[in-house]
Symmetry: C2
Subunit: 444 residues, 2 copies
């Protein structure tokens, strides 16, 4: 299909191509435009029906949007922008270079400019930055019939008409009513008698992560956003929340892997940026590993006389790191999903203590059997390695379980207390135990 | 509020408590029931209005649901079950012990029993297992007025009336029409003239991860599910997809942290289960670390003569592990979100080669300055450590970037190719380079 349309365009059959494109889903149509040769893009785009074209536009990449707007007349550009939902328009403006933003703003009326500036001011990752303004507002004195009539008149431009909002004269949110309820109710009923009151709402400055938590918990499809005076200023729809959830999970994962979070797609991120986002943590962790070097140097003599001790250091370090990562990953995720609260510290401590003892024992026993019986390592050495292994696993799991909760309690992001950092801590303690036990048991 | 209601119940003021509960969101009401003393639960639950109570029931934990159903008469239980949406009912039945399932099935009519069994048969994680059957079906010859009238009659029991489905006589899906479109269209228009055709649908046996990808890409709120003959059998709503997305992200994270995935919440999972899900990978990784022990033992003599070499082993291992985790985490997440395809191997290889060289150089230089100038390590040793560090970072990042893609290509889960496994591989190679370089440069 894609090939066919691209061929039609190459052959100059724009209107045939247009008809095929109009049969596509808008998302697919937008992706198709990414593959059309630059010189044809505007030609084809102009043939599309107006409503369809602005929807397609909203799903294009920022680079393509920039190209399209750049090559249009001011009038055309404004028409496209006017047809966008407001949140898409703001997202677009945020990404455009100054000359395009100017082009847009000088052609907008004053109210629109003020509104755009207000939206650009919302902090990144706040509810305000993901809300839109196209909602249906009803009055509580309307009958169901009047309300439906009103929706018919104004609904075409709204993001959703499935949920409608009832406000008083100063725009304070009074209630919510679903289109479903309207349709299923008697025509003469008053909106105020069937609307839902005491509606849960979001504040413009709430963090988008908290917004996602509410959608998750209550299975909402849309939620109202209010300002400090409880006036309705916008709505957030579940499709935007889906993006937030993906984004937050990606961010947590990046932090857990000791990468400075970034929002662009991997393949679209420059190599310098990728390197720059990874180097700081690698440096910090490398330098903090000085601790382990220091410990080994302190026990240089013990090591020199029983050199075989060195052979087990990587295994001990790796197993400690793995054991700690397991615990911290589960706790970090549990905290992110709200399944674990900071008040659960004693329970987590109890569970990790128990789990780590089981895991530590199993690993220590298997390790002892393996290195003593299979590999013929000396008894005392095997004992030292196995005991250290046991202790390392217990320590790693407890540290891995607790540190993310401590971070959360200190209002830090739990995700930075993941594997890498915990490994560094556990490594040092494990080495001290290892060498102390070795010097004591071997009498060196 | 919660305290107040619990107090009212303690004082036997059930109807006052009931009124307060009815003002709560159903999710909050369900959570409240988890805290009511067991002897009061059924008493209070029975006072709730019928519609409200079955909604509250659907948000209760399985243990509480079991308790409620167990203490009810068969008749009461069936009433509750009948009022549940079908997907909630199936989820409930799946979790209940045999005696309760029997109680339910013997009181259901034959059609319902057949349907329940059909749903229980859908593979876990398939589209069939998350769909529900309460959708609105329209006929294409209906006028908009007739369609709306029909929705008014049957809509009350439907999961959503915002999207309606048009089928032919053999239930093959012909089109989709939104309530929005119906409301905004002229009453005399025929459904077939305004319905959307060529609708994207899901097959009952599609993986839920693929379903989530479609919702993500196209911003759907609901999608139709069809069987092998393209007959409509159910719908999937976005709130269930939200759960899937959380679940898949959790599962990937667990695998990346070398934990056997499990679906229950951390705090609700037994310690044995938690231990059991962690030990296999810890064992596998521990045993594969034998490789590193073997390498160190092979170079025992070199190590013995320059014991300081041992001091840098943990730092080299940790940095290699961290560098590899960074790359693998980004690639695994990119693959999961569909931002990276298996055909991108050359691009990923190119990017990781470049990024790893930048990161490797920076780390090696900082490390050299630190150990040679600050710590007074010998020049040759510092050179050996820094060169090995550089090489380890480059290797770790390339292996970390490519292995998840290889896994995907082999139809394995990329998430298992994460930090721990890659660390083990990189450790071994890094040690070989380290000792070879040391023996060569130091002439030992």
């Amino acid at each position: 299909m894609k090939e066919k349309i691209l061929n039609l365009i190459e052959q100059g059959k724009y209107f045939e191509a247009r008809n095929e494109i109009c049969n596509l889903n808008v998302v697919d149509a937008a992706h198709l435009f990414e593959e059309i040769e630059q010189k044809y893009i505007l030609l084809v785009f102009r043939t599309l029906p107006k409503d369809f074209s602005s929807e397609v536009f909203s799903y294009m990449s920022f680079e393509l949007q920039k190209h399209v707007i750049d090559s249009m007349t001011d009038e055309e550009a404004i028409k496209i922008l006017d047809d966008l939902y407001f949140d898409d328009a703001v997202d677009f403006i945020e990404e455009m270079p100054a000359n395009i933003v100017k082009k847009i703003l000088r052609n907008s009326d004053e109210d629109m400019r003020a509104l755009i500036n207000q939206f650009l001011d919302y902090p990144e990752d706040s509810a305000g930055s993901i809300m839109t303004i196209e909602y249906v507002d009803l009055k509580k004195e309307m009958t169901v019939k009047q309300a439906i009539q009103y929706i018919k008149e104004i609904g075409i431009d709204k993001r959703t008409i499935n949920t409608c909002y009832v406000m008083d004269s100063s725009r304070v949110l009074e209630g919510v009513i679903s289109l479903r309820k309207l349709i299923l109710s008697d025509e003469s009923t008053l909106v105020k008698d069937i609307m839902e009151t005491g509606v849960m709402s979001i504040n413009t400055h709430d963090d988008q992560e908290d917004v996602a938590a509410l959608f998750r918990k209550y299975n909402f499809y849309v939620m109202p956003v209010v300002d400090m005076e409880n006036r309705l200023v916008g709505i957030i729809t579940v499709d935007d929340v889906l993006d937030v959830i993906d984004q937050e999970a990606t961010e947590d994962l990046q932090k857990m892997a000791a990468v400075q979070p970034f929002e662009t797609e991997y393949l679209k991120t420059s190599n310098w940026r990728l390197a720059f986002n990874r180097i700081p943590w690698l440096l910090i962790l490398m330098i903090s590993a000085t601790l382990t070097s220091g410990i080994i140097q302190r026990y240089e003599n013990a090591l020199q006389s029983v050199i075989i001790l060195a052979a087990f250091i990587p295994m001990l370090m790796d197993t400690g790191g793995n054991a700690g990562s397991q615990s911290s990953a589960l706790i970090i995720r549990g905290l992110a999903l709200g399944e674990i609260k900071t008040s659960d510290v004693p329970r987590v401590l109890g569970k990790e203590f128990c789990v780590s003892n089981i895991a530590g024992l199993v690993l220590a026993i298997v390790n002892f059997l393996k290195i003593y019986f299979l590999e013929g390592t000396g008894f005392i050495i095997a004992l030292t390695v196995s005991f250290t292994l046991y202790f390392t696993v217990v320590l790693a799991k407890i540290v891995g379980g607790i540190l993310p909760m401590v971070a959360k309690k200190l209002k830090l992001d739990p995700a930075i207390m993941a594997g890498p950092l915990i490994t560094t801590i556990v490594d040092a303690v494990a080495l001290v135990i290892y060498f102390n036990m070795a010097t004591w048991l071997l009498g060196i």
